[in-house]
């Protein structure tokens, strides 16, 4: 192999870790720029109707076309994605707190563990969408209602994982040995258990985002979520239903595609962060 060939390979074959980092970085950059762009868009200017530009198909001037009130769909979609990320973030934080509390509680004793398992099963057995709608209505609807509803229903998988993980670590031989070395329970929790579950928590939070975002869009689409004046993706999609039969396909196509793209980005970040934090399990 000549020297130039070697160099060429060196550029193409970056190692897996670097590749994963680059992919995660790019995905994160897109998400952050979508979220931050919300603060630089003049909401009133974008959301005011302009009847000279009604129902324009996609063009270079209006990338995603315009709707029946002449609003630029690209801007509306961007605002909608920003709202989605916001809801996802709040909901994930609430879910994670609930999951950590229950996961830790379950390790207290067998009775508490039984109760925690029963609560997890109870929440898991009710149809998701139904539960979200009920909780959202109970909290009075709107942005607050949606955040609480999505947050209080998405902790079950993470709580289950944390419970199992803590149980597994607690019964391991190195924890027993640590006891024999005279270490206190707090010391063991801080030094042994916490570092082992923190990666699960981080990955769990990131992978909760896509679920939260999808469910927010679903209940907004059904009319139980965000109020109709918000430019949420769910609202945009449900409005566009009325215009699809008239051939205005761009009203639903681009916002829907953007939402899918956003969700896939979160999934991608979650998978890659998982690989970075826990290389051994990624090989399994």
């Amino acid at each position: 192999m000549t020297k130039t060939e070697e160099n060429k390979q060196g550029i193409l074959n970056i190692n897996l870790r670097t590749k994963t980092l680059i992919i995660t970085g790019i995905a994160l950059l897109i998400l952050i720029s979508v979220f931050v762009s919300n603060y630089f868009i003049d909401h009133t200017a974008v959301l005011t109707s302009n009847f000279y530009n009604v129902n324009q198909p996609p063009s270079f001037e209006h990338w995603f076309g315009t709707d029946w009130m002449g609003r630029d769909m690209f801007m509306r979609t961007l605002l909608g994605l920003g709202i989605s990320i916001g809801v996802g973030a709040f909901a994930s934080i609430i879910s994670t707190i609930v999951a950590i509390l229950l996961g830790v509680f379950s390790s207290v004793n067998t009775v508490v563990d039984e109760i925690v398992t029963a609560v997890i099963d109870l929440f898991g057995s009710i149809p998701h969408i139904l539960l979200i709608i009920l909780v959202s209505l109970a909290f009075g609807g709107g942005y607050y209602g949606v955040v609480m509803a999505v947050g209080l229903t998405h902790w079950t998988p993470l709580a289950r994982i944390l419970r199992a993980e803590i149980k597994k670590i607690n019964t391991s031989e190195y924890i027993k040995l640590s006891n024999e070395f005279g270490k206190s329970k707090m010391w063991i929790a801080r030094k042994h258990i916490f570092p082992l579950i923190i990666s699960q928590i981080i990955v769990g939070v990131i992978l909760m985002f896509p679920h939260a975002i999808m469910h927010e869009a679903s209940i907004s689409f059904l009319g139980f979520g965000l109020p109709a004046h918000e430019p949420a993706i769910g609202i945009i999609l449900s409005e566009s239903m009325k215009y699809l039969s008239m051939g205005y396909w761009w009203l639903a196509f681009y916002p829907g595609l953007s939402l899918l793209f956003l969700v896939l980005l979160f999934d991608l970040i979650g998978e890659n962060v998982h690989k970075l934090l826990d290389p051994q399990s990624a090989q399994e």
Binding site: E173, Y174, L177, E180, F181, G182, K183, H192, L196
Partner: protein, 201 residues
């Protein structure tokens, strides 16, 4: 002089009785071999001695006292060193969880300093076992229960490790209970050999 005494110990896994009426005693200047068939309860006995199993009948005492909390003066060296090490800790932390031996001791056991920054999965079984032995040789340890600790090692390493372990144990007056089914090894290194079937009913 410290005396480890085990009196009338009974233990069963569910309905399967494994240790019945076990009596045993040793002193801290002795190296005693424990011999028994596979499945006869050697490892269970070790776990009872070192507090890994707590739900048994009978008493395990040192100088007439049951070890209470804190650092357990009876330490177990395990057959599988990788199981008693947190997989996400570097070897320095693994060793420091018990104590930090001085350089002479590290050299004696052939531990290279560069291993300190590696994870347990990055060392071989023999290398891990050296850490595991040194960890058990904490200055507060009075008795060491060595449960098949050299089974995975080649003959040369086995000889080296036993040599260093016994030298240090004799020097610090640490009693060693060597559990093995390798009769030749027990004959070579132990003061006396006890059969598990003789000390149980």
């Amino acid at each position: 002089m410290d005396v480890l005494k085990v009196e009338n110990v009974n233990f069963n896994y569910g309905s399967h009785k494994i240790l019945t009426n076990l009596n045993f005693s040793m002193e801290n200047n002795q190296v005693i071999g424990l011999f028994g068939d596979s499945g006869s309860g050697k490892s269970t006995f070790c776990k009872v001695l070192t507090g890994f199993i707590k739900e048994y009948e009978g008493t395990v005492t040192i100088n007439g006292e049951v070890p209470q909390g804190g650092f357990n003066p009876i330490q177990l060296i395990y057959q599988h060193p990788e199981k008693v090490m947190n997989p996400r800790w570097k070897m320095r932390d693994v060793l420091e969880e018990s104590w930090m031996p001085d350089d002479n001791l590290l050299d004696e056991f052939g531990i290279k300093r560069e291993w300190f920054n590696r994870y347990p999965s990055e060392l071989s079984g023999g290398e891990l076992q050296r850490f595991s032995i040194l960890r058990a040789l904490n200055p507060n340890t009075k008795f060491i229960i060595a449960d098949e600790i050299s089974t995975m090692l080649d003959a040369v390493t086995q000889a080296q490790i036993w040599d260093s372990l016994l030298k240090l144990a004799r020097k610090n007056n640490v009693g060693v209970l060597v559990v093995s089914h390798d009769k030749k090894l027990l004959n070579r290194i132990c003061d006396s050999i006890v059969y598990l079937s003789d000390i149980t009913e």
